[in-house]
Amino acid sequence: MTSPATNGASAPAISVRDLVKNFGEVRAVRGVNFEVAMGEVFGFLGPNGAGKTTTINMLCTLATPTSGQAAVAGHDVATERDDVRRNIGLVFQDPTLDGYLTAAQNLQLHAELYGVQSDLVQARMRQVMEMVGLWDRKDSVVGTFSGGMRRRLEIARGLMHSPRVLFLDEPTIGLDPQTRRSIWTYIRELKEREEITIFMTTHYMDEAEWCDRIAIMDHGEIVALDSPGALKAGIGTDRVTIHTDDNDAAIAALQRQFEIEAKVSEGAVTFGVPAGEEFVPRLFAEFEMPIRSVSVSRPTLDDVFMSYTGTTIRDAEEDQSKHRNRVMMQMMTGGRR
């Protein structure tokens, strides 16, 4: 089930219908549909090259859709670009700060470009910078900042004009685990403090867990869309792993006794059952072979991704990078001839 954070009566923060983007022959986004409710943290999950950034660019008016419609904060992204821009904050995958200016100057510049009321600029600046813990560094030149500090400053800048929707394109990419965690703390806190909708892309499975709802994107299409819990529940099975002395005999016995298809993985027998905890006592009571150990695990988003795309997110990316390397090698060696 979907679970928008605020009441369902309010207009959606983002609504997308049959959105398509082609780059020449390449069909980057192939007709996606979704709605994001006000106040929701909505995640786009998928491997690099799945079409996440292209979709976000269309929603931010940075790219024109080939066909289909999208509205952000009630304004059409193709025909009301200015209205969309006034209502959104952006944190891009690549840094977009001016390294020659100080942190405060970067934010000031942003406020001026967006026409923020002059008498409120200082107070707002202090607020957003305190939130990301950079107020004491406001007069430092951004060129001296670490990657994590820059990302935090970009988030602060994206909030400078009190946007209704904040877009975060891979906000934690390339950051160490501790900084990633603190950025997530800011994002959750932000959601509590300001009336804001957050739309983000990520390819970290563990981060997708933080979202209210996630859309899994693969090859330009949304293959699943729901809350992380519902997506995992939708897989329907828990994974049970048992260690026995004779794996082949155990598999045969499982088939005979419980009609379960099991297989050997990493030296243990594993199989899926609808309710793992309830099955284990039965297994111990009825199974004809001795069991040395047993473990039950809930499905993870990795399993969800696997079940919808037939591959793990890591494999999907490795395939792509292999392809890229091959193309690059061909270019360097003058092609295969």
Partner: protein
């Protein structure tokens, strides 16, 4: 809350705990005022960056100084016969006043390519203001920075026998401002198409260096070989160097013969092009290039 020991996280949580009221701002509808504010901030950014980049202040002055003092002094003995007693440095000084702002303006325009490479251009492009405001701010910024450099060259006038004179300084400054604006507009126009720094500098070098040499910044434009005279009259920079030279020569004491030989002015089929027309050409050309630059930036996604 989080168990992280990160101090930033802690301070952020404290801020929430203390319950500071949220400062909520709003972004107004686009208006003339917001566009002017955007132009002003883009312009100011150029000045802030210029102030931060001390190396650039020095490096962009190297070339004009080389031309003026090394070339000017070195060729003095060879040129003496033809200058009617005017020091060669004095003669090429107006040309140097032009190229000093030219090179600086070019570097200012180049910053748009840097901005693209470092992503900052995107920050400006998604703001709810017209692209034209960004481009205009950029051109004003480039022109301002170039004029600050130009002041240095104005200041060294007495070293090449050009005395300080309020009218002359104002004239020179005004001409430098127009030239710097037009060159920045030209650079921004080129930068809209060229995405890489190396190619941009290459293209600019390829265009600006011949323009500078052909313009007559370093030689009198009367009595040139026909092919060079044609190129000279086609070179837009000619019409910036000529008024600059007229301004300087009207404030120094030189013989009539020297005026004739060195400051004969640009002619079209024997007709001396008036200063007002020359200035109008620079301004119109600058505005046209600004228009193209705006169009190019508005057209990009």
């Amino acid at each position: 809350m989080s168990t992280t020991t990160d101090t930033q996280t802690q301070s952020a949580t404290e801020a929430t705990a203390s319950g500071t009221p949220i400062v909520r701002v709003s972004v107004p509808q686009r208006s003339m005022r917001s566009e002017l504010r955007a132009i002003k901030i883009v312009w100011r950014r150029e000045l802030i960056r210029y102030r931060a980049d001390r190396l650039r202040m020095v490096t962009t002055l190297v070339q004009p100084f080389l031309f003026l003092f090394v070339l000017g002094s070195g060729l003095q003995s060879v040129a003496a016969a033809g200058t009617h007693g005017v020091n060669l440095k004095t003669f090429i000084y107006p040309g140097i006043l032009c190229i000093a702002v030219m090179f600086t303006a070019m570097f200012s325009a180049a910053s748009i390519v840097w901005d693209r490479e470092f992503g900052f251009l995107r920050e400006m492009m998604v703001a709810p203001v017209r692209r034209s405001s960004i481009v205009i701010g950029k051109c004003f910024g480039g022109a301002s920075v170039a004029c600050i450099q130009g002041i240095v060259i104005i200041a060294i006038g007495p070293l090449v026998h050009v005395p300080y004179n309020v009218v002359l300084i104002l004239e020179v400054f005004f001409l430098q401002l127009l030239l710097a604006f037009s060159i920045t507009a030209f650079g921004v126009m080129v930068a809209a198409r060229i995405k890489q720094m190396q190619s941009f500098m290459g293209v600019m070098q390829m265009i600006v260096t011949p323009m500078f040499f052909i313009s007559g910044a370093l030689f009198p434009v009367a009595g040139l070989a026909t092919w060079l005279a044609i190129l000279n009259r086609l070179d837009p920079l000619t019409y910036a160097v000529d008024p600059m030279r007229r301004a300087v020569f009207s404030h120094i004491n030189v013989s009539h013969a020297a005026q004739q030989a060195l400051n004969s002015g640009v002619t079209w089929f024997g007709w001396r092009v008036p200063t007002a027309l020359e200035i109008a050409m620079i301004v119109i050309l600058g505005l046209v290039m600004l228009g193209v630059a705006i169009w190019e930036f508005s057209a990009t996604d």
